[in-house]
Subunit: 451 residues, 2 copies
């Protein structure tokens, strides 16, 4: 079998690469190979357990891609024969390629905790069969401990609590986070506190500055012993403490890669083999703000890299801007969103910056339906050139699109002064007043400090 | 009486100028003079009649500004003595100024229709007393005709229909629009059709390509006779066909101004008198896209100009980028938003452009709560340099913030290629998938055409 382009991996990076190829080089045959039967929507996984109530409701529909002429194969890839330019399957079949894109993603970190291999202790794999096992274990569980208070941990905790409520059998859910706050790597502390507050309102216990020491129980988990000696009862444990690049295949075929950063790629997402590109969680990244190596692994970054890799197969046309951490989530009634650096991260980078903040209702007047009286924004600007390096929003569902104004501004190197004097659409039923549109007001407040 | 800065006009431009001064030059005394008792939120006016149900619920709170040290005076200004640098009141009082900002806004266009002065025929003034008169007339009205299908007309029609429903006495509401579609000056035709569809779902009759010829009735309006002879029964008529600069005071004190464009100002919002600035609907504007004179009158533009005028009083520091038409509205269940040029306007300007479009749900997977399956975006990019010159969004409440990504991109002269390779925050509960985030996808679709 032969395909002009073979893509290993059927999630964000791989699918985006495939779509981009069909858009830009429609004559090429494109084959996406994945080892799972179906591909879950990765960011949707937590919502399986609460809102959706079913693993099979969280699928990326294959047909959408098949309709674009993309071939999808379910195969386990065991090796790449770079000399013959062939991908080798576990069933000994092969597919040859002109160009290969590796999008093998990441594997969840498994902490070296005593007892971690007991039954009902799970990391979150992007595989429907694994997700169904988790579902079956969570359903009857009364006590659930979530280790890790990042996005996945916080969202899982919220949705597991909802799972119990929907079933009329409330679960005792505890989040255990090593850092002083949940979401702290991405969000400002005051925004983290808002989300912790929402979790508490939902009856979830949040334990920060807190480390798990041991998983207790016989074959099956019975508790999580914390570093301070306290033991939390647990019928099931979810571990969400991050992910590392899945470089197994790349290493096997001799491509330069390291387990921390991923498969070595240049700005064109090309590996040291000119016919092989890598994109997404499995590839090395640098920060679009500092230019330094970045550990950010996000579907949005993966999509961007998949698009860039696919655009460069025949000719180097597009460079990555570097990875931008642009996140959002909604917990309870509150959305928080972030793009770029936090105060803590910028300080650690040694960047001299000023902060511009604004709080205003997301409606005007502020009593209109759907009003959130205290929608907040916090923007960070470099002192030396005024450029925005971070933005944090909390409020309602529009927070996610508002933070993308900042995401664009960061990637286009816009300044406080530029964002302050720009004009923005406003509407009584959807935004704050034009006198206090969050982005403008925070930028102006920073611009005053910079002038 | 003396104030370092006197601002005539207490709406968007005036208040933004005052706030900016208190932020940037807190030692200056700032007095805002207005002729109305209270200032309505201008964009909120339509919602008085439906959602709010009361004129006094749509007020800009004075206290917010008083707390910042701004003095607010209710006075009718009759003249400006430029030689003495004094503003003269109808009650013969005076206030002297070092610097003066004129923000006298606009006056609704009154079409030369026979019968226009009959009772219960209203244009929309930003004055609570006038708005209360309109309220009292609309309450008992069974048949209401709205002349003009721009933003104000469409929103008034929707809210008047709601007023009837809330009272349990449905009103027959008709919108009469001269152009082929409602909202056509701001929005793409397919987006206009969506809004017309929403109006129709609410039982409102939409008559496009249709001109009012005469207001019939004795003293009080009884009907609107259309150019084709049809007569629409009407107990009340609302006219919302646009506004013209209120230049009366400027003309009276000898400042260069014309009734079409407004008070002549430079890029610093300075009039020909170096001590007098003008901002908002009363001031001349140019388009930030074409550089040509612009008739756009929006609170968002006024706020920007107020900020710029206030920043330049002592030293010319900030230039306006030119007016950007950035709008949004929500009618029934659909939000539409626009920034910059429509296809029609760009064509009329002789600009060669390509369009990038995308349609995707605003959730992923697309069945999550709050999903709008067909959230749409349409972007216009110049063929010569790839820069974005227009963006149109329809969907849910986040449309308003999504269009502001485009507003920023237009004002920063970003290209299709830049917007395509950028990364954007996405979340299952708030946005489309990262594979199909609207801005990215539409920009990539255009970039393919441009490459």
């Amino acid at each position: 079998m032969k395909s002009d382009v073979v893509i290993i991996g059927g999630s964000a990076a791989g699918l985006m690469a495939a779509v981009t190829l069909k858009k830009r080089s429609s004559e090429k045959t494109v084959t996406v190979i994945r080892d799972v039967v179906k591909t879950p929507v990765p960011c949707g996984i937590p919502y399986i357990y609460g809102i959706m109530g079913q693993v099979d409701k969280d699928l990326i529909p294959d047909q959408l891609f098949i309709d674009q002429g993309i071939k999808i194969l379910q195969k386990e890839v065991t090796d790449i024969d770079r000399a013959k330019k062939e991908v080798i399957f576990a069933d000994e079949g092969r597919v040859s390629y002109d160009k290969l894109i590796i999008g093998t993603g990441s594997k969840p970190f498994v902490p070296p905790l005593p007892g971690i291999d007991k039954a009902n202790v799970f990391t979150v794999h992007k595989d429907t069969n694994c997700l169904k096992k988790v579902y079956r274990a969570l359903e009857p569980a009364r006590n659930v401990v979530v280790i890790g208070g990042g996005f996945i941990g916080v969202e899982m905790a919220e949705q597991i609590a909802m799972m119990g409520q929907k079933a009329g059998a409330e679960k005792t859910v505890t989040v255990v986070e090593m850092l002083p706050r949940c979401l702290m790597l991405a969000c400002e502390e005051d925004f983290c506190l808002e989300i912790e507050g929402e979790l508490k309102k939902l009856g979830i216990t949040v334990k920060t500055n807190c480390q798990a020491g041991e998983i207790t129980g016989r074959d099956k988990v019975e508790g999580v012993k914390l570093a301070d000696g306290e033991v939390l009862a647990a019928d099931a444990v979810i571990i969400g403490i991050g992910a590392q690049a899945n470089i197994d295949l790349a290493v096997k075929c001799g491509l330069a890669a390291n387990s921390r950063g991923g498969i070595m790629v240049d700005k064109y997402m090309q590996t040291e083999d000119p016919d092989i590109f890598a994109a997404g969680d499995c590839a090395t990244k640098f920060s679009c703000i500092t230019g330094k190596p970045s550990g950010i692994r996000l579907a949005s970054v993966a999509c961007g890299e998949g698009m860039i890799a696919a655009s460069n197969l025949d000719e180097k046309k597009r460079e990555t801007l570097g990875a931008l951490g642009a996140f959002s989530t909604m917990v309870g009634q509150r959305a928080v969103a972030a793009a770029g650096l936090t105060t803590k991260a910028a300080t650690e980078e040694g960047i001299d910056f000023v902060i511009g903040e604004a709080t205003a209702p997301n409606r005007h007047p502020g009593h209109l339906p759907g009003a959130i009286p205290d929608m907040k924004i916090k923007l960070l600007f470099r002192k030396d050139n005024g450029q925005v390096i971070g933005g944090h929003v909390s409020g309602g569902e529009a927070a996610s699109d508002m933070v993308n104004i900042i995401a664009v501004a960061i990637q286009a190197h816009l300044t406080a002064e530029q964002l302050a004097v720009m004009q923005y659409a406003t509407h009584p039923l959807m935004t704050s007043s034009p006198l206090s549109y969050h982005v403008m007001l925070a930028a102006e407040n920073a611009s005053v400090k910079l002038s």
